[in-house]
Amino acid sequence: MLELIAVKGIYILMVFAAAAAFASSLLPNLFHGALALAAVLLAVAGLYLSLGAEFLAMVQILVYVGAVMTLVIYAVMLTGRLEETVTPSGRIQRAAAGVSCAIFFVLVCGVLLSTNWPAAPGGNPLPSVKDLGIDLMKRHVFPFEVLGILLFAVLIGALAAARREKS
């Protein structure tokens, strides 16, 4: 019974995520759109959680909802469009957005259909946080270090860009 509820619950989450995604792109108000995007990200975190990937779900909330969305909203507030309830978008913009979305959808569908989804053998395929850490430090240590250097460079670059010139 509980498993049945859980299985049906995934569909509810999926529908919610899709609805929020449409809302985030269709709402005329920038701020509402950004909040709908936060709802999408939360729903995706919920999907991860229901699939047993707790760590991924928490990182998703921490990084995307907690940090990235806050930055997005900060940027929206700095655009000075706060009082206007409607942000006008031109007809060409809409057409371009529609076309690029359609192309992206087709590409993703192609990847999804052509991938052979291997079912993990054994009942419990979920890697623990410890396994993730060991994997990151042993098997994937090179990409990990490259990412570290990249982020460090970004940090220094941001500091350099934000530094005030001494007069």
């Binding site: 019974m1 509980l2 701020f31 509402h32 410890k130």
Partner: protein, 378 residues
């Protein structure tokens, strides 16, 4: 006494098992834990308000609330009734949905983090194996809700408070997360229950790196829940009440509730991570946990009674120029203590940390804020 609450729950679940099918029993076990937490949150908040008023009053040589009930014990109830019966005001220009949703949504993460706090031996409502991460992730969503409230009420003081709150929370959250890393390394787990159990021999706060980590975590936690001396987002002498300027009645009470519940959960998590959690001699585990937590909460109120509010640039300077580098240096120090044997495992981290504190203080010493020019609005 030790297993009082667990026995009560077992009793209730067994009673449910008489009438319900197996899945119903599982469900009712979850619901009982959830209801306990849902009831606990508001109860804690109500009496924290009274405690804060009493403690502050004593520090200011007053008596504090003493009219409603003995020692003012019914004061929170009276306040609650007053809040509920106040007129519900909504600014005509406010964004209806966001203005309505924000006070509800802000209480959700504040209540949800209670799920991973180990209130006693075997008394964690949901012992997730990513417990600490769950706490950090949920409390980071509060920023968004504060933004909703501040933007939704269409008031310039609200927006100012919201902006301040967000910049403050982003800055301190980074340091907060990094300051927990040494503990996670030492315990080898993200589960709050395991972290408490790994402190059976020695509290983490009794090691040099643990003590530093504890202080950084506590300071950043105070900043995260906008408590004094980090209460710039709701500085009443500058921007009325910050992001909840336009809220009154029960909506305001929900913001207030979230703030007090956050204070409780930050103190509870500090106890869990650094001060041995529910471990202690003689008394039952949950009592030890509450004693330690309320001691920390007393310190929070003490701060409010003692320290003046920080200035915005000092606030940022403290986070980025002092606490963050110190928290980063704390990670190698903790690693050293893990790999060295006894006399060195304390001495080497202590030396590293003392040198880094000295270096950081030296580089921060010359820092004087530039003179600011204030403009009147025209």
């Amino acid at each position: 006494m030790e297993t009082l609450f667990i026995q009560i729950k077992t009793l209730l679940v067994n009673a449910a098992a008489l009438v319900l099918p197996p899945w119903g029993v599982t469900l009712s076990s979850m619901i009982i834990s959830a209801l306990a937490i849902l009831g606990l949150g508001p109860l804690i908040m109500m009496y924290l308000t009274l405690m804060e008023r009493k403690v502050l009053a004593r520090m200011q040589n007053r008596i504090g609330p003493n009219r409603a009930g003995p020692w003012g014990l019914l004061q929170p109830l009276a306040d609650g009734i007053k809040m509920l019966t106040k007129e519900d005001i909504r600014p005509s220009a406010a964004d209806p949905l966001l203005y309505f949703l924000a006070p509800i949504l802000i209480a959700v993460p504040a209540l949800m983090v209670f799920a991973v706090i180990p209130f006693g031996k075997g008394m964690t409502a949901a012992d997730l194996n990513v417990g600490v991460l769950y706490f950090v992730a949920l409390s980071s969503t509060t920023t968004l809700v504060i933004f909703m409230a501040s933007w939704g009420s269409r008031n310039k003081y609200s927006v100012l408070g919201g902006m301040r709150s967000v910049s403050q929370m982003i800055s301190y959250e980074v340091t907060l997360v990094i300051s927990v890393v040494p503990i996670l390394m030492a315990a080898g787990s993200l589960s709050t229950q395991t972290i408490v159990e790994s402190q059976s021999g020695r509290w983490y706060a009794a090691t040099p790196w643990g003590l530093l980590s504890c202080m950084i975590f506590f300071i950043c936690g105070l900043a995260e829940c906008n408590r004094s001396p980090f209460d710039l987002p709701e500085a009443e002498s500058e921007i009325v009440a910050g992001y909840h300027t336009e809220y009154s009645g029960m909506r305001f009470a929900l913001f207030y509730m979230a703030e007090f519940m956050n204070v409780f959960s930050i103190c509870a998590l500090t106890v869990t991570l650094f001060l041995g959690g529910w471990q202690g001699p003689l008394l039952p585990s949950w009592l030890w946990f509450l004693i330690k937590t309320y001691l920390l909460i007393f310190i929070v109120f003490w701060f409010r009674g003692t320290l003046p509010r920080l200035r915005a640039d000092h606030l940022m300077g403290l986070a980025w120029k002092f606490l963050l580098p110190l928290a980063v240096m704390n990670i190698p120090a903790a690693a050293m203590s893990h790999f060295l044997s006894e006399p060195f495992s304390t001495a080497v981290p202590l030396a590293i940390l003392m040198v880094s504190v000295a270096v950081l203080s030296f580089f921060n010493k010359g820092y004087a804020a530039e003179k600011r020019v204030y403009h009147f609005t025209d």
